[in-house]
């Protein structure tokens, strides 16, 4: 039971990093990122491949972060000028494209076979069991990310980002370089997602493209919405609530005997879908861009 709780806490911790990243993207800056899992996957694969090639863990993780940030800047430069729903579709497409690449560039990624045997860092800290030490590492990463995100959100940069989220034209009129600020936010969030990916890869010691479906993105959205978009503390408890509830549904088979595992999994996804809808309606401030459109249809209003 203790082992189970440690595993749950580790997974929640990794997921909190993803949610913090999305909170910087959407909650603070208003970027409708539907491809968050792409940065997670880049962090995971880069870190996995490099450590297997003998690079130290921290360096490999750093490389994953650099790669994810570079990808986010590339995607952002190309698409951030577009309207928010186009940005959403393009980031979603980008994450699917990346998964397609991971599946097909077999020389590098072994495709659908995945990469097994990813080493855990510091395999033996004296006396401390492996998984406890790893939880400590994850919690340390979460603490650092949380403090950095809070500092960023409260800084003048954070204020500018929120101003852009609430009214980008006003921010532009005040002389702010809106695109550059959006790219900054995108990069920071992608970096957090890449750290999460790296921690995930070294935790489960095995990565495969199937782990990086858009469902990860939408779990993260839901965690952010539960906690209230824009709040770092909300990102933490929203993620914890979501994953405890999701874990709880694993025990649903005790209540509903006769359902096989795939059916239970499908039911969980249905609950996720309902949750997304109900929470979106309940939290109306989510993306409440309702003022009439004045700019041409293809320009971000």
């Amino acid at each position: 039971m203790t082992d189970y709780l440690i595993a749950l806490a580790t997974i929640i911790g990794i997921q909190v990093l993803l949610t913090l990243g999305l909170t910087l993207h959407y909650g603070i800056t208003g970027l409708v990122n539907f491809g968050h899992v792409a940065f997670y996957a880049l962090g995971a694969y880069a870190s996995a491949l490099l450590t297997l090639a003998g690079v130290p863990f921290m360096v490999a993780m750093g490389a994953g972060v650099v790669l994810a940030v570079a990808a986010s800047l590339l995607v952002g430069t190309a698409t951030l000028r577009l309207r928010e729903d186009y940005f959403a579709i393009l980031t979603l497409g980008f994450s699917e494209l990346l998964r397609l690449l991971l599946l097909n560039v077999r020389d590098l990624t072994r495709g659908a076979l995945g990469i097994p045997g990813i080493p855990r860092p510091w395999r033996a800290v004296s006396g401390v069991p492996d998984h406890v030490a790893y939880l400590g590492l994850v919690l340390a990463a979460v603490a650092i990310a949380f403090v950095l995100s809070e500092i960023l959100a409260r800084s003048p940069l954070g204020r500018t980002l929120r101003a852009i989220r609430d009214d980008d034209q006003a921010a532009m009129a005040l002389g702010k370089d809106v695109l550059r600020f959006r790219l900054t936010a995108l990069g920071w969030g992608a970096a957090l997602a890449a750290v999460a990916g790296s921690l995930w890869a070294h935790y489960v010691t095995y990565v495969v493209p199937d782990q990086f479906t858009p469902e990860i993105t939408f779990y993260t959205w839901m965690a952010m919405i539960i906690g209230g978009p824009g709040s770092m503390r909300g990102a933490v408890w929203g993620t914890a609530v979501l994953f405890v509830v999701l874990e709880g549904t694993r025990f649903a088979k005790d209540v509903m005997p006769g359902l096989d595992a795939p059916r239970l999994a499908a039911l969980r996804q249905i609950v996720i879908g309902l949750g997304l809808i109900v929470l979106t309606v309940y939290l109306r401030k989510l993306g409440g861009r309702t003022r009439p459109r004045v700019a041409p249809a293809h320009v971000r209003t």
Binding site: V32, F34, A78, T79, L82, E84, D85, Y86, A88, I89, L90, L92, G93, F94, E96, L97, L100, L101, L103, N104, F218, W221, I225, P262, R263, A266, L267, Q269, I270, I272, G273, L274, G275, L276, I277, T280, V281, R284, L286, G287, G288, R289, T290, P292, A297, H298, V299
Partner: protein
């Protein structure tokens, strides 16, 4: 579409031409399936002003309802198709009305997130009921007609014919009827249309009816030519959005042309790159189009 038996033409150039003709025919077939999804998506995007990610799942609904009547109940295919499309309308239209028109939300991002929720629910409800295996309608195999390098089965001919008739019908409806005028007016300016006394609610009901009808029919034709699985809608998100965006989103006529561009580009690309990258071609076309021709290849509104 898989690559069927090669043509009998031998020798370099002849073989290439045969291959090209074959890919072109396949591309047009793919395009007719994509068009049935993209026209409805474009219509709803223009009128309801949000990107309905669950739209391709209406295709899946049509395919699975038909499968249920055809393979499970044992109704002959033609009747099963009619019943299946009817069932998809009975489920899809109320779902769309409820989720997109009746909830107290208006923001594009909110509706986008809600459509993700709807997509999760539809897909996993089907997964729950039918499982995740590949399924096929029980229809007799048919010999293809052969004209030189062109080979078409009667089902493929039917697919082309049905797509052409439905797309023409939508064209006539939009350009010749009062409903079409109201829909085009809402796409231009919903508030003014309402002030002018048009029944916007009824027009939107009709719009969802048309969108689900086209998509469900497309799904049935998809199942007639290929195999179906619960992820088929999700897998079509990128190609269908690409077709709608390349054609100029909100412009149902453009969507037909967009479908043709995407269908042909996907098939022709297999001459140069592995077929597993087809989806990347659709995504690339969409991304390039949004960056350089955000109103679609044909411009206009």
């Amino acid at each position: 579409m898989g690559t069927g038996p090669r043509d009998q033409v031998h020798g370099g150039v002849g073989q290439l031409i045969g291959e090209l003709v074959h890919l072109t025919v396949t591309g047009i077939l793919v395009a007719s399936l994509l068009a049935l999804g993209a026209v409805g998506l474009s219509l709803t995007f223009g009128v309801a002003r949000f990107a309905n990610v669950a739209h391709p799942d209406f295709m899946m609904l049509g395919a699975y309802a038909t499968f249920a009547f055809n393979a499970l109940v044992g109704v002959p295919f033609w009747w099963a198709a009619l019943l299946g499309i009817g069932a998809a309308l009975l489920v899809g239209v109320p779902v769309a009305r409820l989720a997109y028109d009746k909830l107290p939300v208006t923001g594009t991002v909110q509706l986008l997130v809600i459509s993700i929720g709807v997509s999760f629910i539809l897909r996993h409800a089907v997964l729950f009921a039918f499982g995740s295996s590949l399924l096929q309608f029980s229809v007799p195999l048919q010999r293809p007609y052969v004209w030189g390098p062109v080979r078409l089965t009667p089902y493929q001919l039917l697919t082309l014919a049905v797509a052409a008739v439905l797309v023409l019908a939508v064209h006539l409806l939009l350009s010749r009827t009062k409903l079409g005028r109201v829909l085009r007016a809402i796409a231009d300016n919903a508030v003014l249309t309402e002030i002018a006394g048009a029944d916007v609610g009824r027009a939107r009901l009709a719009m969802w009816f048309i969108a689900v009808l086209l998509a469900a029919t497309g799904g049935v034709l998809f199942g007639l030519n290929l195999v179906i699985q619960p992820n088929m809608g999700w897998d079509l998100v990128i190609p269908i959005f690409s077709a709608a965006i390349v054609g100029g989103i909100g412009n149902p006529y453009g969507a037909m042309g967009g479908a043709l561009v995407i269908g042909l580009a996907q098939e022709w690309s297999t001459l140069l790159i592995p077929a597993s990258y087809k989806e990347a071609i659709a995504f690339g076309a969409m991304a390039l189009c949004l960056m350089f021709r955000p109103r679609g290849l044909w411009g206009g509104a």
